[in-house]
């Protein structure tokens, strides 16, 4: 009983370099770093001087808490773009993180001083993209300035519409709200402002009657 076909569900496309941008700011997590490496290669061949105006903030795959990606390359594919590969590129700056909140804190600080002409690239699990987008939105960055590619787990951030708590890392169609304990149906209805999918009480009309719980967001 997954509710699908809702327009607010974000759709991402493979990252492409935007050479009209004057500055490039890239965020990567886990397998997303492979996409960043690809787009950096593209940028280098289109506008070699652009790398010196590119900042990369990343969480390496081996440090990333997410399990192996279902949609990512098979294990024997080129490793998950380790930080060393980025360090060799002559970027303006490379910062390596071990957790998302710290990376996002630095990201926000960079946006505070960033100039018009900046392009943002985000690659990684959807929840990571959503959190970065939420911050970008506060700085009035719009779809012309942001590109994102989804790579990694589909686990969702789920916002309980009853108690307004967000439950992280949700992999099932129905989840118990970590705060109020209601059983929530995870909808495709997405809020960019909250960076979360809406969760609505699944057994409100017939308490205790819940459909089968399935792992759907792997």
């Amino acid at each position: 009983m997954l509710v699908t076909g809702i327009k607010s569900k974000p759709v991402y496309a493979p990252l492409r370099a935007d050479t009209r941008g004057h500055y490039h700011l890239m965020l990567g997590k886990g397998m997303g770093n492979v996409a960043l490496m690809r787009v950096l290669g593209e940028l280098e061949s289109a506008a070699p001087q652009a790398l010196a105006r590119t900042r990369v903030l990343l969480i390496p795959a081996e440090l990333s808490a997410t399990p192996a990606a279902v949609s990512g390359p098979p294990p024997e594919s080129p490793a998950a773009a380790p930080p060393g590969d980025f360090a060799a590129l002559g970027l303006e700056e490379l910062r390596v993180f071990t957790d998302v909140p710290t990376l996002l804190r630095d990201f926000r600080a960079l946006l505070e001083v960033a100039l018009m002409g900046t392009r943002l690239y985000v690659a990684g699990p959807e929840s990571f993209i959503g959190l970065a987008m939420k911050i970008a939105l506060e700085f009035d960055l719009n779809k012309d300035e942001i590109r994102a590619e989804e790579l990694g787990t589909l686990a969702r951030r789920v916002y309980c519409i009853h108690c307004r708590t967000t439950t992280e890392e949700v992999r099932t169609n129905i989840v118990r709200c970590m705060d109020c304990g209601n059983w929530l149906l995870v909808r495709d209805h997405y809020s960019r402002r909250l960076a979360a999918y809406m969760g609505v009480m699944v057994d409100a009309e017939a308490p205790g009657e819940r459909p089968e719980i399935k792992e759907v967001f792997l």
Binding site: R20, G21, H22, Y23, L111, V113, A114, L115, M116, G117, T118, R119, F139, D140, L141, N142, D144, E145
Partner: protein
């Protein structure tokens, strides 16, 4: 906009504010207040002369919160087709004029983190109304205002009163010019730029902003240019079954209106796309002068903006 929606106003004050610009105050004939508007809006003034009717758009420069009257600024155009000369030479205090309701095609972005306003000459007028909103808001802004010489700096005392040092003046005769590269390459993320003035200024700002990596969604401009002149031609209106002669100095839209056929319009400047009309047949060349249609649309030869575009043709049939 159709004629049924115009309202009658009385000219209650006229002031010559610079050698070329007159400032008009328009008040409701029957008392009461004018329709509400937002900063950046324009009205269309209908001018009925013995020989023809002009409909010219003018930005409202009065504060949006004060609706006892509207104020507009009209620059006398050297090569006027007649509209600005009519406003300057014929309009007197106490006269009645017909205007179309305000329309806003140049609003401020509501979620911008900073507004960068750039005005050239008479292009200051929409910003006068914007400043009233910006004055009471928290979003930072700056206004860069370029004029030929100090005596041409219309409304400067009022601007200073509202915006103080956030108004930066540039006088051509003193060799001062806006450092477009410097300005547009150093704006914080979330800035929106707005430009109003001569075509050259608008092109310069939009091109420089794009070079600095600004996306089009952050670049806003408005210009009310007079419809370009051209060769005379004939057009047949298929649904109305009338043939209209378009003289060299009258626009296609004006010529159609003169025959009593109404075409919906908003900006009359080739920007908004409201008057877009289907071309059923054309034997010759369409001369597209608008900023609305894409090159691909223009190449299809099946649509035209009659407010500014013309034709050089043996025959033209429009779906009107």
């Amino acid at each position: 906009m159709s004629e049924a929606q115009t309202l009658e106003v009385e000219v209650t004050a006229i002031e010559q504010v610079t050698p070329l610009i007159k400032h008009f105050k328009l008040s409701p004939v029957a008392g009461g207040s004018m329709p509400a508007f937002s900063g950046g809006s324009h009205i269309v003034v209908v001018m009925r002369t013995p020989t023809r009717v002009y409909r010219n758009p003018y930005s409202l420069l009065s504060p949006p919160h004060s609706l006892d009257s509207y104020e507009i600024g009209v620059r006398r155009m050297e090569e006027s087709r007649g509209g600005s000369h009519f406003m300057h030479d014929q309009v007197r205090v106490g006269m009645r004029l017909e205007i179309a309701h305000p329309v806003n095609l140049f609003a401020l972005d509501k979620i911008a983190r900073k507004h960068l306003l750039i005005a050239g000459g008479i292009g200051i007028t929409p910003f006068m109304a914007h400043l009233e909103d910006l004055h009471s808001g928290r979003v930072p802004y700056e206004l860069h205002y370029s004029v030929r010489a100090p005596e041409h700096a219309a409304f400067l005392p009022r601007l200073r009163e509202r915006a103080g040092e956030r108004v930066r003046m540039y006088y051509d005769n003193a060799g001062q010019s806006i450092d477009f590269d410097g300005l547009l390459s150093a704006q914080p993320l979330g800035t929106h730029v707005y430009v109003c003035g001569p075509a050259g200024l608008i092109e310069r700002v939009t091109a420089t902003a794009r070079d600095c990596g600004w996306p089009d969604s952050h670049i806003h401009w408005e210009q009310f240019s007079a419809p370009p002149v051209g060769d005379a031609f004939e057009v047949f209106l298929a649904r109305s079954k009338v043939t209209v002669h378009v003289p060299p100095d009258q626009s296609l839209l004006e010529s159609i209106e003169a025959q009593g056929v109404e075409v919906p319009y908003l900006c009359r400047g080739g920007v908004c796309g409201f008057c877009q009309t289907r071309v059923l047949e054309v034997d010759g060349e369409l001369i597209h002068n608008d900023h609305f249609l894409s090159d691909a649309d223009k190449a299809k030869r099946n649509t035209i903006m009659p407010c500014v575009s013309r034709a050089r043709c043996k025959s033209l049939v429009l779906d009107l």
